[in-house]
């Protein structure tokens, strides 16, 4: 029993890692723009498809491997995914977000949901065999640490990458000028603009960083699942948004907390309730609905009094 619980805890942590980054993406955009971009999940999946696409172009991948050692070329691949995510997010910003800034939020809500569909369907239509599940290549090392089946190198690297990205993000947000500006914007937009923060520039920076995060998030989920499906983006995005809301929309650390909550709920419902596997998604979303009803500010969000 003890080892069963331990292995479930491990699974939950793995799931949390794949959710944390996308949750942070949601929080980042919401913090700076007061906007929820609903197509982030699809962008992450599209980035994973981009990496998959490069590896399946045998010539390119072989050339990369010829020039660099294996590890470096794989890192280059992941960075390509991140860059692709950043580009896609920027394109999305200009097409479906920026035109609706300052207008009724329903418009941007609908347009980003629709954009998610467009991305997903474009993959399904134009990626060769896009509507079939794809095997995601194993770019991470195989084998186990201490010969323990729970401690596969793949899992360790996924957790490690997540932690590393979180640390970089922490450094960026708290130690760089751009990061501090972004924090200021998310706390008080008007005042920040007044003291000379270039809002448009910061929005672009946020989108680039967020997009890069999404690309990495897509890579991590795809590696964790070893398969990639074109239509998982909506569910992934939905989970990411849920994570952000449960933690406290707009807060980066909240997203981390939220991802742990959702991951543990889902994994434990799957593991310990008979026949629960089918309902793990249901349980996760029920948690979200309950949070929205009873604690909309999330785990670490502050309760704000709306001014009449």
């Amino acid at each position: 029993m003890g080892s069963l619980i331990l292995s479930q805890v491990f699974n939950a942590i793995m799931l949390a890692c794949t959710l944390a980054l996308i949750g942070i993406g949601f929080s980042l955009f919401f913090g700076v723009m007061d906007i929820v971009v609903f197509c982030l999940g699809d962008i992450a999946i599209a980035s994973a498809f981009c990496i998959l696409g490069i590896t399946s172009l045998t010539g390119v991948y072989a050339a990369l491997n010829g020039i660099f050692p294996m590890v470096v070329s794989n890192i280059i691949l992941v960075i390509c995914g991140g860059v692709f995510g950043a580009i896609l997010v920027t394109v999305m910003y200009h097409t479906v977000v920026a035109p609706f800034e300052g207008k009724n939020i329903n418009a941007s809500l609908l347009s980003t949901v629709a954009a998610g569909y467009v991305i997903r369907e474009l993959i399904g239509i134009f990626y060769p065999g896009g509507r079939d599940p794809q095997n995601f290549p194993n770019l991470l090392p195989t084998g186990y640490l201490f010969n323990n089946t729970m401690l596969s190198w793949r899992n360790i690297i996924i957790v490690g990458t997540t932690v590393l990205v979180l640390m970089l993000l922490y450094w960026f947000v708290n130690r760089t000028k751009a990061g501090i500006s972004i924090q200021a914007l998310s706390q008080n937009k008007e005042a920040s603009i007044m003291i000379g923060i270039d809002w448009h520039k910061m929005v672009i920076v946020t989108f680039l960083i967020g997009g890069f995060l999404l690309g990495i998030a897509g890579f991590l989920t795809a590696s964790y699942a070893s398969t990639l499906r074109f239509d998982t983006g909506s569910m992934y995005g939905l989970l990411g948004f849920s994570v952000a809301v449960v933690g406290g929309l707009g807060s980066i650390y909240g997203a981390l907390a939220g991802s742990l909550v959702i991951a543990f709920v889902e994994v434990f419902v799957t593991g310990f309730i008979p026949g629960g596997a089918a309902y793990s998604g249901v349980a996760g979303f029920l948690i979200v609905v309950l949070f929205i009803i009873f604690r909309p500010e999330g785990i670490i969000g502050e309760k704000s009094i709306s001014k009449v």
Binding site: S111, A115, S234, V282, V288, I292, I293
Partner: protein, 399 residues
């Protein structure tokens, strides 16, 4: 008097024109429909620039009896016009069913300005309830339909309650989550057929006459779709009447007020809880009714008919047609259903099209083809013009 007659003739001509447009779009290929839509947009823009559109709407509003008779006759004669082609009749039936759901969805999107991403849940609950009752328990389809509407309304409460707490993005998340939960549940509950759906749903019967039988009239053998066409359009007509009356009632105004400013609405004595629940429950009842009709028409339902894409399509209809405008919503439902069914050859591109249509509409014409109109009162068949009403009321006020 002559002016009145002129008005009537013009209104009749406009109504006939609309029927003709529907007929042509129904008969022709996708390309022609798209051209018609493009022309329509140009025409509408022109009418809006010149103010003609107000005149047209006023005319149609004043002569509702006449125009509804024309539309009714058009639907009655449609099976003959299409020479009993069952594919075309099928398109019109589905359009009617979608129209009913869209009208219900509009109570939320247009009325209280909250985007409900789960209309397909209401639709599905109606369909699954009656299918389950009539297939597994042998209940009569009519009773099943009533049960479907009731259960859908109840679902309206379940989805409406979180909506009281959550607005905007949060509501979107709640409704998408509930939509996902619903899909997961029906896939995983074997009693409702799981991924295989429920086949063999019985057809409606009226005094022993099954609506699933061919009809022989004037030596013409018409497919069974005729019966369903009439049934669906009777319900659709009732839904249209109900929706337009609600729009012009104090509830329509209260809904819009809640959308604009909940605090102001509350200080006018509007109970936010009940008014928002009303919007969700009525919408759910409409959708439940439509779902039941769908189940007993096609005889087979599965989770794919009621998933998130279906919800998105329904939202598309409302937004494209024009939210909070009954003729607009009907236009959206008819148009998108026709395009959707004609797109069958390009099924691969279907959802891509919906995504693009939604984005383009939001960018180019965010209020939809027929934007919301100001409520005009005192416009009745009695012949009192809007201006007269204003004057009379004004005089009353100055007394």
């Amino acid at each position: 008097m002559a002016a009145r007659l002129n008005d009537k003739i013009t209104a009749a001509l406009v109504a006939l024109g609309i029927c003709l447009l529907v007929y042509i779009s129904l008969m022709s290929s996708l390309l022609v429909i798209l051209i018609i839509v493009a022309l329509l947009v140009v025409l509408l823009t022109y009418c809006e620039k010149t103010g003609l559109i107000d005149t047209v709407f006023q005319l149609m509003g004043k002569n509702t009896t006449l125009t509804s008779v024309i539309f009714g006759l058009f639907i009655i004669s449609l099976p003959f016009l299409v020479k009993g082609n069952n594919d075309l009749l099928h398109i019109m039936i589905i359009a009617g069913i979608m129209g009913i759901v869209a009208l219900g969805l509009n109570f939320q999107i247009g009325g209280i300005g909250q985007i409900n991403f789960a209309p397909a849940v209401f639709y599905g609950v109606g369909a699954y309830t009656t299918a389950y009752l009539s297939v597994r328990l042998g209940v009569s389809p009519w009773l099943g339909t009533i049960a479907g509407v009731c259960l859908a309304t109840l679902t309206g409460v379940i989805i409406g309650l979180p909506a009281l707490k959550a607005r905007g993005y949060y509501l979107a998340l709640v409704t998408i989550a509930l939509q996902t939960i619903f899909t997961l549940m029906i896939i995983n509950i074997p009693a409702v057929g799981g991924p295989n759906g429920i086949p063999g749903i019985p057809y409606y019967q009226i005094f022993g006459y099954s609506l699933h039988s061919r009809v022989e009239v004037f030596g013409l053998t018409l497919p069974y779709q005729v019966n369903y066409l009439y049934l669906v359009y009777i319900v659709f007509a009732l839904a249209i009447v109900a929706a337009s009356r609600l729009f012009k009632s104090r509830y329509g105004i209260a809904w819009n007020a809640v959308d604009q400013d909940p605090v102001v609405a509350a200080t006018q004595g509007i109970n936010l809880t009940s008014i928002q629940l009303l919007s969700f429950c009525l919408g759910a009842a409409f959708a439940g009714m439509a779902g039941a009709l769908y189940a007993h028409y096609t005889g087979f339902i599965s989770n794919e008919n009621f998933d998130f894409s279906q919800s998105l399509i329904l939202i598309c209809m409302v937004i494209l047609g024009g939210s909070d405008n009954v003729p607009g919503v009907i236009t959206g439902a008819l148009l998108l259903t026709m395009i959707d069914q004609k797109l069958a050859d390009y099924a691969n591109y279907r959802l891509l099209m919906y995504g693009l249509v939604l984005i383009i509409i939001l960018l180019v014409r965010s209020k939809g083809l027929l934007p919301k109109r100001i409520r005009i009162y005192g416009e009745r068949d009695t012949g009192m013009s809007n201006g007269d009403a204003k004057l009379a009321a004004g005089a009353g006020g100055k007394r």
